[in-house]
Symmetry: D2
Amino acid sequence: MNTVAKSATTGKQRMPKHNVHLLVSCPDARGIVAAITGFLTDHNVNVLDLDQHTDSDQGWFFARVAFDLTGCDVSLDRLTELWTRIADTLHMTWRIHDTAAKRRMAILVSKRDHCCRELLWRWEDGELDCEIPLVISNHEDLRDVIERFNVPFHALPVTPDSRSEQEKRIQELLIKNHVDVVVLARYMQVLTKSFVDRWPSRIINIRHSFLPAFAGGRPYHQAYDRGVKVIGATCHYVTEDLDAGPIIEQAVVQVNHRDTVGDLVRKGADLERSALVTGVRLHLQDRVLVHGQRTVVFQ
Amino acid sequence: MNTVAKSATTGKQRMPKHNVHLLVSCPDARGIVAAITGFLTDHNVNVLDLDQHTDSDQGWFFARVAFDLTGCDVSLDRLTELWTRIADTLHMTWRIHDTAAKRRMAILVSKRDHCCRELLWRWEDGELDCEIPLVISNHEDLRDVIERFNVPFHALPVTPDSRSEQEKRIQELLIKNHVDVVVLARYMQVLTKSFVDRWPSRIINIRHSFLPAFAGGRPYHQAYDRGVKVIGATCHYVTEDLDAGPIIEQAVVQVNHRDTVGDLVRKGADLERSALVTGVRLHLQDRVLVHGQRTVVFQ
Amino acid sequence: MNTVAKSATTGKQRMPKHNVHLLVSCPDARGIVAAITGFLTDHNVNVLDLDQHTDSDQGWFFARVAFDLTGCDVSLDRLTELWTRIADTLHMTWRIHDTAAKRRMAILVSKRDHCCRELLWRWEDGELDCEIPLVISNHEDLRDVIERFNVPFHALPVTPDSRSEQEKRIQELLIKNHVDVVVLARYMQVLTKSFVDRWPSRIINIRHSFLPAFAGGRPYHQAYDRGVKVIGATCHYVTEDLDAGPIIEQAVVQVNHRDTVGDLVRKGADLERSALVTGVRLHLQDRVLVHGQRTVVFQ
Amino acid sequence: MNTVAKSATTGKQRMPKHNVHLLVSCPDARGIVAAITGFLTDHNVNVLDLDQHTDSDQGWFFARVAFDLTGCDVSLDRLTELWTRIADTLHMTWRIHDTAAKRRMAILVSKRDHCCRELLWRWEDGELDCEIPLVISNHEDLRDVIERFNVPFHALPVTPDSRSEQEKRIQELLIKNHVDVVVLARYMQVLTKSFVDRWPSRIINIRHSFLPAFAGGRPYHQAYDRGVKVIGATCHYVTEDLDAGPIIEQAVVQVNHRDTVGDLVRKGADLERSALVTGVRLHLQDRVLVHGQRTVVFQ
């Protein structure tokens, strides 16, 4: 059995010095949790938070561990190297994120500003733990709004003919800016398979409908015509198959016969802001694991 | 201008003696509200509650008026006759419901009892203003549960071959029992077009999904596979096109990766009970107007 | 009986030219609705929307009528004069608001910007139908944030000794700017009775708790200590008795043991933004009637 | 480091044979999670589910572990004995619950049946994992309703003079029936301190208000008078201080000016049913830990 630090923290705990997140998924087996926590304790690493989920139907195990590296007997690189051996034995898919290295997030947007602006606002207020090195749009319209936040704005207009060329330039900008995660904040262009494939589970989209209802164009019009009493917005990872990516977060609100299409658009905009910010925050905190078409979201 | 009763009610109002509901829809025009309220006042009928909605996009007017017949200078039959003249001028579709005559509601159910039982319970407690002369099922299973409520239970088993014969017997039972409204409380048989056509906007179904998402079979399994973060239930009128009838009420609840299909079924059952009871109550209170595929619900 | 325009609008209705709102409350009596609608129709004024509520327990009647003045046979001033006679007969409290004259709204704020910023953003996007001639604060901190929206910012610092003096200067600014409605967007100073008395039902506050729970200081700390599972925010009119004013809107969200006080503050900020914007919008649309400590909110 | 079973479960996992729940709270320290999981793995016990929470502000650690005893190298009694040594070292408060031994739950009720009936219904449907050996009431009214569920019903009428005598008889009945948990399903008598002290964190009450708002009598009338726009119900453990016990669950719903006190009572009844069933289910699944006036609820 592992030894345990003898002096219990009796007062208010100090803030951890150096937080690291470990995300794991693997076939379920006996002793996985003990293996993970034992490994960390053996290296004098303190587990701050452990969230674990076993999908019994699929026989799959998922975990998120937040730990404090302060006091660890080896470097994070070496710890990772040692970890790899255990992870291999258990057929794990895993990733380790050192929170000391801030993620770099790019935002793509078209003409409507509400989602992009909400993200920038939260980021400015320190709510989103990342850097935002650039915003890219296929229109000039939002330059002023974006530049108010002191974030570089790149307008890359697109025509049916220039689509692949424009996408290539976006890729170049993302790579040049060392971007880790891309957010489509009501970006109204469909990305190609090759683009999407380069950013697996790292492109986050906000969809203005309660997926899978009302896929396709003009979802609020569809919702109005169908006469639903609840509308929604869906934050999901982008996959090749449009509107079918793994869902991170959905927000809903009641509507009624008094709501015009315009009202649905307005109420929906609030849902979009809320669902997107929540989804992005969860991603940045390493709380989302993708498994097939589903997500495990540790809250 | 209409004269107004001079003595204002200053204290607590007595309960009205004889409530009548008028539901109206027609092309929008100037003065409709005044026409309705003027007519009623001219006959010394007191408007208790007036709810009105104009759909500007479609140029259509809807209203629900609750009024007290006590003190009316003519009988309800005569009032209706006089009303018809005005209604014709305004190209109105309308109906008048005398609340003194309780509606007669039949419930159709299969093997799962939660929706039927919730309705019977509410009805027993006096929450649903109707009579329930019978419950019909295609199985024997729920006889004991239903008969606890002192409601006659009819089991009409059905095979692929006997479907039209069984439906015919249902029709006969409904007619013989002077039924006004039919509730499908998780009745797992599809009704034929001819059956549905005989009960326009008078068959209420509870659908175990957030329509239009997950139409078709096993919606909770579909929801699980898709990985949605919100599930729902939909109470709607039955039309020929399955799952496309006008929606009266939808209820939703958040779910997450920890929820198995079984959990979705359990949480969904609560939504089904809630949405169905609400939908049925609204219908019985004459608060629902159907217009195309949409409903106007005066709450 | 009133005559009715013969030509029904069969196609899509044009937008009304000149909207006016009438808000009425009075002791309940027979024929009030007919009196109102008959009067308007007699003057060739088209009722666009009528919402009415009778509180049977208290014997009180409330209504909101939106009508189109285009085609009216008299001026609005004359119409109001004629209306007064009817209103007097029925002992009505009422007000008429010509939407052509935009309301002038002042915002008071302290150091936290989220509520003020949300209002300014919505206003900039055309969602709030008003003018915002000024923002007043007891601190300098938010000058930059506010001035980004091209709204004049006045910092009026206050000390315990200068409180009445500072309040006097606020009054002067409000009057000089012809302000109709004052919004306290997390303004952390208590207003005096004499100030409040000058703006009856015209000062709107956002309270960072689900009133009446957690009145007094530091409500999120109180909520954390009590261990509630739901937190809320309350938008209400300001009255002399702090935290006791008539409630316009409340928003709530679930929380759990993982939420620190900081999380409650963050989640609560979202509720505050949402509840305040909704409350202000309802006020600006003349949808709120105050009756004692309660409000009638026509949605 | 702990060894890990080498053969990963690749297919669908079998249902565990013998589930045990361990609940732990203690001062935070390094290595607690590893200590717990290591201990279990050392005894060949498989961790099925581990949920852990560290309250950094208070420096306190909480965990719930569900494990499968099948294959354990010692009996549960011996495992518990060995566990005690570790727990003592870490200054833990803990309990172990063998799910093979069903809990025995008593329900106390007065005249309103909705909460009691909902519990019995769920229990009959197999949703609540417990035995219900008896229902006790201070009135005869609900005998028929309860006995329908084949549960013994005891009416113990009470007068101001007989209060302590009646409570004593309740205690005797509970003890005689080996009751583990007591549910107050709208039981309208205040229990004495001595009664409450005998069942720490084992008496669950449903309160018909959103605590701490509207403590005291007639909360729906209070809510109506105050004009709130949201009402709630609160499920909590009973402590000596009425209405101040640790909250397990709260449910809320929007209301508006159209809702009479009667409507609030009806809507509230739905919340009470829902919050109570959820609270009881969480308790029966060993998901609730009490810490001071707050609860940690592992969902």
